[in-house]
Symmetry: C2
């Protein structure tokens, strides 16, 4: 069959980023021939090394090039040699905001055979999707500092939330919930303290809920939600939440679903006005970089999300099955290198 | 011996609040005769009922009376019949802010015999103290809403952090760490995103650390911290963090230490310019109110913190031992009512 050509931008980034991205691409190469897609890849040198060399994080010209791509695969950014926040804000968050990734999609799913730190939970108990808002909330960077370094210093951070921004992400979450068997959507916020933002989320949830009578809605304060993730994860099906709460709860999500080495994510622009970006939830882990110790599974599962996003559902399921099979057999095996895991999964995909 | 007279304000509050407070006072009565303290109690009718009756949450006159007390014991506030935030902001947070409870102290300790949702952890793995800032950060209530109810609505919440506020809580946390065997202090924040506030915390930590060379310091992003609470809780000894992050991580803390029924807290004014307030971490749980189902242990452990705060360390240890013994024997027993648990612990204290 004729395959659709996809321009894929690849940002390996820092630390273990390049290693895990290599395995993600290996698996993508294995599935591509049968996916109906032909990938044309462009690699972008962004991250700590470039910043040290040129002072650039995400230059305007590169951003413009990225806009012309169909999708982005990112490894990880951040390095202890760069001041905290420079690459996170200047590269990662800049991409999410400029490319209008208003949905940060993070499945929390315990695969069979994977060990979880929770006692007595089954794969059925841990199977949810977190829809994290990606373009506003406390992540705007709005804020500042007054009288820095003096005893009278004041430092502020502002969470900015708009009806426009909240409604589009809530709507997306309802769509997700409507298409899952349990059809349940839980809003996670802290509306008893952050009353202005919380009230906006609550009113929007209520309004959109009227259009989805088949979806049950629930509300949970963020503090209680973190507790329920640990002792009643089965409460959750689809979760919608703000940018910061989403950041926090998806790390607990990763922990209960077998660790950060397995947690995938998609920074999605559902309107298609700019390319979506797929990345493992984990960071650059400089302490283990270059040693072949990183688990590439989170990146490979991010490739699954990329394939789904591009409409190649069959190819996505094929990779997902290969990952599931590999995970199911891991328990008995000794430690494997990053490349060995990638090879094993790629082999299952082709085989 | 002559006993020191203590004026104790009691705010039973809503839902299960009155039930658990009754047991806390029962245990306090049991230990008081040997504590060197004589408690004179005044009960304050605050919470949902009063708000419905009068529209008041924490009237100025009551606040002034509270200022004249030596300490406060609070049950829980909040009820579904009251709009979210009214009692939380108007009563609980107003008390914390007005009485300058800048340290919100929350031990996370797994007692022997208590079951935790985490597989394979021991009591040694879960033994930390979270020092949560209590009077600033995202809890200030600063913020607002523009064009409410329109498609152009903007809702903001501002986190306000001051050198004054951060330094005093960080200093308190160093004192705690210096007095514990492991002498480790971890700052939990999100300095790669909330760069202004995070940088202030980091600089203050570094400055105060110079005065405590015996204390090891560490830093952890809040998202990673929540994960480590679940899969490596032993990493933490004393944690210092902002008001919102502290709210969130102490609920996971409660979950890993056996549940919200056991989590105690103190809203402490270390300078003694106003009374400190002790309360269980749990809420008013209206669904089980009035049924004798609530676990009063969190309140009784809050009484332990109250006794310690008042300098009655021996009495505090006595109650703590009674709780520990009761907990160690719970596993084998059937369900007991709120009052039965209180009776059992009070009996051990007297006996
Ligand atoms: C690196 C950091 C800026 C980022 C975030 O906070 O969103 C990360 O934690 C994530 O969850 O993708
Ligand atoms: C009830 C609520 C305002 C409060 C808080 O957020 O501080 C509670 O969750 C707590 O942790 O004491």
């Amino acid at each position: 069959m004729a395959s659709r050509s996809i321009h894929l931008a690849v940002i390996p980034g820092d630390g273990i980023g390049p290693e895990v991205v290599a395995e993600g691409l290996k698996v993508l190469d294995a599935v591509a021939p049968s996916s109906g897609l032909a990938f044309e890849r462009t690699s972008y040198d962004l991250g700590a090394a470039r910043w040290h060399r040129t002072g650039e994080t995400l230059p305007d010209s590169v951003l413009e090039e990225l806009r012309g791509q169909d999708a982005i695969l990112l490894g990880a950014v951040g390095d202890p040699s760069v001041p905290s926040g420079v690459l996170e804000r200047g590269l990662l968050l800049r991409a999410r905001f400029e490319l209008d990734h208003y949905v940060n999609l993070r499945p929390v799913k315990l695969f069979p055979g994977v060990s979880t730190p929770l006692a007595g939970v089954t794969t059925e108990d841990v199977d949810m999707i977190v829809v994290r808002e990606g373009t506003e909330g406390p992540y705007t960077g709005v804020g500042g500092v007054l009288r820095k370094g003096t005893p009278h210093e004041v430092a502020t951070q502002e969470s900015v939330n708009t009806a426009f921004g909240v409604e589009r992400v809530v709507r997306y979450a309802f769509e997700q919930a409507a298409n899952r068997p349990r059809r349940k959507l839980t809003l996670v916020h802290k509306d008893n303290v952050l009353t202005f933002a919380g009230d906006l989320y609550q009113r929007v949830l209520k309004k959109v809920a009227a259009e989805y009578p088949q979806v049950t809605t629930d509300y949970c304060h963020v503090d209680a939600a973190t507790m329920f993730f640990v002792n009643q994860p089965g409460r959750f099906d689809v979760v919608v939440t703000d940018n910061l709460f989403g950041d926090i709860i998806t790390d607990i999500g990763a922990a209960i679903a077998g660790g950060i080495g397995l947690a995938a994510s998609g920074n999605v622009n559902p309107d298609g006005t700019a390319p979506s970006m797929f990345e493992p939830v984990h960071g650059s882990a400089p302490d283990i970089a270059g040693q072949g110790k990183a688990d590439p599974t989170a990146t490979i599962l991010s490739v699954v999300m990329l394939l789904d996003h591009l409409g190649a559902a069959e190819a996505a399921r094929r990779v997902e099955r290969a990952v599931a099979e590999d995970l199911a057999e891991r328990a008995g095996q000794g430690a494997r290198s990053t490349a060995q895991i990638g090879d094993a999964i790629a082999k299952r995909v082709s085989g």
